[in-house]
C-alpha cells in the first residue's frame, strides 16, 4: 500500500495551518493506519516518507489560491496537481471522489463559477481565483440541500461512491433548467455513472428536488 503521490499532510505546510480539518476524520485515521501498516510490514527503505519529502522540496511548486466553498486557501502546488487531487489530498475535502480519473464517470463533479465540471480533468492552477463549490459546500450549514434530502428520500444510491458527484451534477441540472422530464434528466445526468445502477432513485430524486411530480 502506498500513499497517493500528491498526499501532503496539512501540518507540513505552514500556509495550510488554518486549513486543518476540524475533527480527526476517518480518512486521517486510514492514512495513519496505512503508514503504520506499511512501516510494520515492509523494509525501512520503503517506509521512508519519500513522497512527502519530494513534494515539500518540490522546486516546481507554485502559489495557487483556491476559493473553495467560500473560503480562500493559499497553497503551493506542483502545477501537475489536478483540482481533484488538490481538494482531496491538500485540503482534505474528500467528499469529491476519484472514480475513473479520466472524465468518464463524473464522481469528481464540482461546481466552478456555478458550472459543473470534472475536477479530474482540470489542473488546480487553472482554477486559481475561481469560485469552487464541492459537496461539502452544498448544504446550508447543518440543513441539507433539497437535492441531498431528495437523494435520501428516494434512495438515490447504493454504495454511495458516485453520490457526491451525482448530487453536484443534479444541483446544476436543476439550475440549468434541464429537469423538465425524466428523459431530459437522464440525458443531462449522463455524465455521472452509477455502477450500482441506482438510476431510478436518482431520477426520482432530481425530479422531486426540481419540484415536479412524477
Amino acid at each position: 500500500m502506498t500513499l497517493p503521490p500528491c498526499y501532503q499532510p496539512p501540518d507540513d505546510d505552514p500556509d495550510e495551518t488554518n486549513d486543518s480539518p476540524s475533527d480527526p476524520s476517518r480518512r486521517s485515521f486510514l492514512i495513519s493506519s496505512a503508514t503504520v501498516t506499511a512501516s510494520l510490514l515492509v523494509a525501512p527503505a520503503f517506509a521512508k516518507p519519500a513522497n512527502h519529502a519530494d513534494v515539500a522540496a518540490d522546486p516546481n511548486a507554485i502559489p495557487v489560491a483556491l476559493n473553495v466553498n467560500g473560503r480562500v486557501h493559499e497553497l503551493r502546488l506542483d502545477p501537475r496537481t489536478t483540482l481533484l487531487d488538490a481538494l482531496r489530498e491538500h485540503l482534505n475535502l474528500t467528499g469529491t471522489k476519484k472514480g475513473c480519473d479520466q472524465g468518464a464517470c463524473g464522481a469528481c463533479t464540482v461546481l466552478v463559477d456555478g458550472r459543473r465540471i470534472n475536477s479530474c480533468l482540470t489542473l488546480a492552477v487553472m482554477n486559481s481565483g475561481r469560485k469552487i463549490t464541492t459537496i461539502e459546500g452544498i448544504a446550508a450549514n447543518e440543513r441539507l440541500h433539497p437535492v441531498q434530502a431528495a437523494f435520501i428520500r428516494n434512495d438515490g444510491f447504493q454504495c454511495g461512491y458516485c453520490t457526491s458527484g451525482q448530487i453536484c451534477s443534479a444541483v446544476a441540472v436543476i439550475q440549468e433548467g434541464h429537469a423538465g422530464s425524466d428523459d431530459e434528466i437522464r440525458e443531462w445526468m449522463s455524465g455521472n455513472i452509477c455502477r450500482c445502477g441506482a438510476y431510478e432513485g436518482i431520477v426520482a430524486a432530481v425530479r422531486e428536488a426540481s419540484g415536479r411530480r412524477a
Binding site: Q102, G103, I117, M126
Partner: protein
Amino acid sequence: MNPFDFVRAREVSAAVSSGSRADAKFVAGGTNLVDLMKCGVERPAHLVDVNDLKLAGIERVSGGIRIGAMARMSDVARHPLVLQSSPAVSQALLASASPQIRNAASIGGNLMQRTRCAYFRELTFAPCNKRNPGSGCAAIDGENRMHAVLGGSESCIATHPSDLAVAVAALDAVLTLHGPNGDRRVAAADFHLLPGTTPQTEHDLKHGELITFVFIPDALHAKRSAYLKIRDRAAYEFALASAAVGLEISGGTIRSARIALGGVATKPWRARFAEAALIGKEPSKDVFRAAAEAEMKFAVPHGQNEYKIELAKRTLVRALGDLAGGAA
C-alpha cells in the same frame, strides 16, 4: 505526468509568444490534454493557460456569425445566433461528451483534440505511429471496431472524435489562426489532415499558432441543417457514425447541399461526392441512398469495422430524410 512549467496568458500576443517555445502547449478546458498528459501520451514542457483571453464572444458579423475560440461548448450550443443560423452546430455540440465536459471544453480546444484510439492512449502497446512515428499500427490488425473506414492509411486508422468539427466542416466554417506573424485563415474542412505517412501531424496549425475564431457563414443550407449521431449508447459516447447535413430546397429541388461524416473517417469528412449527387434532384430516399453510395464507395474496411460502411450510409439517408421532412 511529466513536469512542466505553467504560465497564465492574459493577452493573445503573450500567449502566442509563450506558446512558441519548444514543447509548449496551450491549455483551455484541458479535458483532452490533461487526460493525455496523465497517461503520458502528451508531455509538454511548458503549459500556457489561455482561459483568460478575451475570446469567448459569440457575435453576428458581416456574412455570418463569429465564435471566439474560448467560448465553451455548452455556451455555443445554446446560443440563439447558433441555434438560428446553424442548428447542426448546436446539435453536434449537444451530442458531444457530457454536460460537465461541455462546460469546460472550449471550441478551439474541441477542434484541437487528438485524433485517437485506445492503442494511442495506452503506452503498454508499443506500436503506434502517432506516438512513435515508424513503430507501426496495432489497430490495423487488432481491435478496430471503432476505427475509420475512410481516409485511413497503412500508418493509422484512428478516427477524429469531434462532433463539432464535422458540423463546421460541412457548413464551410473558416478558422482564424493567430501566430507570431499575425492572422491567417483556413477552411475548417481543410484544417484537419489525412494521416498518410505522418499520422502524428493532425492539423494545419503551426507550432505557436492559436485558433482565435471560428466563422460560420450564413447560408440557407446552414439554416436548414442538422446533426445525427449514432453510438453504442444513447448518451456520452463517441460516434460509430454521424452526419452533419444541410439542404437548400426550393421548388421541390435540392439547390445546395452540405454534408460531412463523423465517426467513420480519420478526419472530419466533407462528403463532396454525396453533395454533388444531390444537386438538382428531387429529395427522395432513393436519391439520398445514391448520394450515400457515391461517398462510401471509397470506404476500406479493416476486419471489425466493416459494419460502419452500411451504418454510415443509413445514418446519412436518415439524416437527409429527417431534414427534408415532407419534401422527401
